[in-house]
């Protein structure tokens, strides 16, 4: 059965403005998503319309400047205020058992320039949305957007069920994350605190999954970083699919996994130790050695190592530069101080050598890193 998203957009009645997005999403989802548009007027009318439509998710534009009230006056609220009102109603509904608005995903859906005008630098609305989609992305990367929307709508009821349970048992938590209960003990206990909150509504828990857990490398890593840690040049390696297949047991199978492909780093290291090399961990080896070991053990030929790059020297690549997206060998890269919201169990962000050279006054470079960089700028050969 297809899932329905309601797109609330001030340009909804001008079909030419919203139809392309709705069509692109529906087409990319191969029929599993339907997007209906709604032009907002009064806030009561919008909430009534949502309650009537019973959508599986909401796509919410931020700016409502082109919509008018019945008396032709400008709307006295915007998409962020509406999102806050919806979240409040969802929370009250789940508490009192009279859910006028059930829990469903809320997705910010705006153009980049609108986001710049309304939000940039202001993080107060960040927690309202499960996901943020740039309208331009729908046209350029429709498939990945549709996957994320689909999994959010499909798995939200599981999160709601978990949120409603009085006792957040290890068993329920393990099921939510698609793992055996025993596996939870392998994680830093801090990692799961956000999901053990007793009174948190579903959207808070959902945000914890899509944000701290899946949104930033740490216990779970995305495909590009997985390839870096295996030393594999993703673009060149035709046999990457076979490596992924071999790593299936390490892949994340929990809620939202169909839209957010991730791998448990602890299980990737297990896989390495049992399938590839029990003596030497991957971080001790250069990319070439890692790839040779993988090819030998899995019987593959079309796998190529990440090439050396003077902008990001070294061979024991383990991170991805947050500016250039180049693989980074920590011996040559520049770790950045944690930013707001970055936990101790998250991976540290890195700049590659070239980006650090370009941005030596980056406020997140610690004193020791600046001193290291200054030495390099003076021509010191060592990293």
């Amino acid at each position: 059965m297809s899932k329905t998203y309601l797109l609330i957009d001030d340009e909804a009645e001008s079909a030419a403005s919203t139809e392309p997005y709705a069509e692109a999403i529906a087409e990319a989802s191969q029929g599993s998503l339907e997007v209906r548009s709604h032009r907002p007027s009064s806030i009561e009318e919008v909430l009534e319309s949502i309650a009537k439509t019973k959508p599986d998710g909401l796509l919410l534009d931020i700016a409502f400047t082109n919509a008018l009230m019945e008396d032709r006056a400008q709307l006295p609220y915007d998409g962020i205020a509406l999102a806050q009102q919806i979240r409040t109603l969802q929370t009250r509904g789940s508490r009192h058992g009279t859910a006028s608005l059930p829990e469903f995903p809320l997705v910010r859906f705006s153009k980049a320039d609108v986001v710049r005008e309304y939000v940039t630098g202001d993080t107060t609305s960040e927690d309202l949305f499960d996901e943020k989609v740039d309208k331009a992305d729908v046209i350029e990367h429709a498939e990945s957007v549709a996957k994320r929307l689909d999994c959010l709508a499909a798995d939200y009821p599981k999160v709601s069920e978990f949120a409603a349970a009085e006792d957040k048992s290890d068993n329920a938590l393990a099921q939510l994350l698609g793992q055996e209960e025993e596996f939870l003990a392998r994680l830093d206990a801090r990692t799961l605190l956000g999901l053990r909150r007793r009174d948190a509504p579903a959207h808070v828990l959902s945000r914890y999954v899509t944000g701290p857990l899946l949104g930033r490398p740490g216990p779970l890593i995305p495909e590009a970083l997985l390839a870096v840690r295996l030393g594999v040049d993703l673009a060149q390696s035709e046999d990457w699919a076979a490596i992924r297949e071999s790593l299936r047991s390490a892949s994340y199978q929990g809620v939202f996994s169909s839209g957010y492909e991730r791998w448990w780093m602890a299980l990737v290291l297990d896989w390495w130790a049992t399938q590839i090399d029990s003596e030497r961990a991957p971080f001790r080896l250069g990319a070439g050695e890692r790839v040779e070991a993988i090819k030998r053990k899995l019987g593959l030929s079309k796998v190529f190592p990440i090439a050396e790059n003077p902008y990001s020297p070294g061979a024991k690549f383990w991170h991805i530069c947050i500016a250039s997206r180049l693989p980074v060998d920590p011996a040559f890269g520049f770790p950045l101080m944690p930013e707001w919201g970055q936990e101790t169990w998250h991976d540290v962000d890195y700049l590659c050598l070239e980006e650090a050279r370009r941005d030596p006054r980056n406020a997140r470079l610690g004193r020791a890193e600046r001193a290291r960089l200054a030495k390099l700028r003076k021509g010191d050969a060592g990293a």
Partner: protein, 268 residues
């Protein structure tokens, strides 16, 4: 292995992982390392599959588990009384690596009880600085390591205490050609108490980051508590074995287990 034995061992390994997560968080919070990733990776390895000692290794066929903390960078305080005196090392960081391997004990009672289960605990430390002589810059490196000697009584050369501290080693290979005025023979291998990753980090902080270490001691009780378990697990039986071996030399002239730890402990 019985179910309860397996569970006890799993719990032991989970607790060792959580210790590592905890110290990673503390080092991160206090800015003592720019990247706690190597500790997080080590913690992730604690529950990897058991490995088996190879036919050409001591205790062939015996199962063990372990982890590796590779090249943790530790931000150091400025050091005093450096030699050469011209050495420059302001805002310096050092690299600390630890390999830890522990045998699966014979039974549940033995889980995590003693240093005797340590298959290997090696600690590598490297610190780079430089100095200028007549306008020419020269790299300087300090290096030491703590090794486990697996082959008891087999070395034809100088004695190898079971756990020993040694200055120099392979980490100096890169600057070997430029070493002047200092000679570093293999000996001595100073016997020392074994260090796991927690104790190794503590050793480095205590020696190279004195101000921060005193702050930790006075203000971060969770850090102090973190050291207690490994101290009691490894150091307590280690020193007890040595003390008993020396006290009982009249009864056991060969030194018994103490002689295996420090080959000098015997009288006949």
């Amino acid at each position: 292995m019985t179910e309860s034995f397996r569970k006890a061992l799993d719990q032991h390994r989970n607790e060792r992982a959580q210790e590592l997560f905890d110290i990673a968080a503390i080092l991160n919070d206090l800015g003592l390392t720019p990247d706690n990733g190597p500790i997080l990776q080590a913690a992730s390895q604690c529950r990897s599959a058991y490995r088996t000692a190879g036919a050409d290794q001591p205790d062939a066929g015996r199962e063990y588990w372990g982890f590796e903390m590779a090249e943790l960078r530790v931000n150091l305080e400025n050091q005093r009384h450096l030699r050469p005196r011209s050495a420059v090392m302001e805002q310096c960081s050092a690299l600390l690596s630890v390999v830890f391997q522990e045998y699966v004990p014979e039974d549940e009672e033995g889980v995590g009880k003693s240093y005797e289960l340590l298959r290997q605990t090696s600690v590598d430390f490297q610190l780079d600085a430089y100095h200028q002589i007549e306008g020419v810059k020269h790299n300087l490196r300090a290096a030491w390591h703590i090794d486990t000697h697996l082959y008891v009584g087999t070395s034809p050369h100088g004695i190898h205490p079971r756990f020993h501290f040694q200055v120099g080693g392979e980490r100096l290979d890169d600057i070997d050609d430029s070493i002047r005025g200092v000679l570093m023979p293999e000996a001595p291998r100073m016997p020392c108490a074994p260090l796991d990753a927690i104790l190794a980090v503590d050793f480095v902080l205590a020696h190279y980051c004195g101000d921060q270490w005193h702050l930790l001691r006075d203000l971060v009780p969770s850090y102090i508590r973190l050291r207690k378990e490994p101290l009691q697990r490894y150091w307590s039986p280690y020193f007890r074995t040595l003390a008993e071996g020396i006290d009982n030399l009249d009864i056991v002239p060969g030194g018994g287990d103490a002689c295996a730890l420090i080959p000098n402990i015997f009288v006949g």
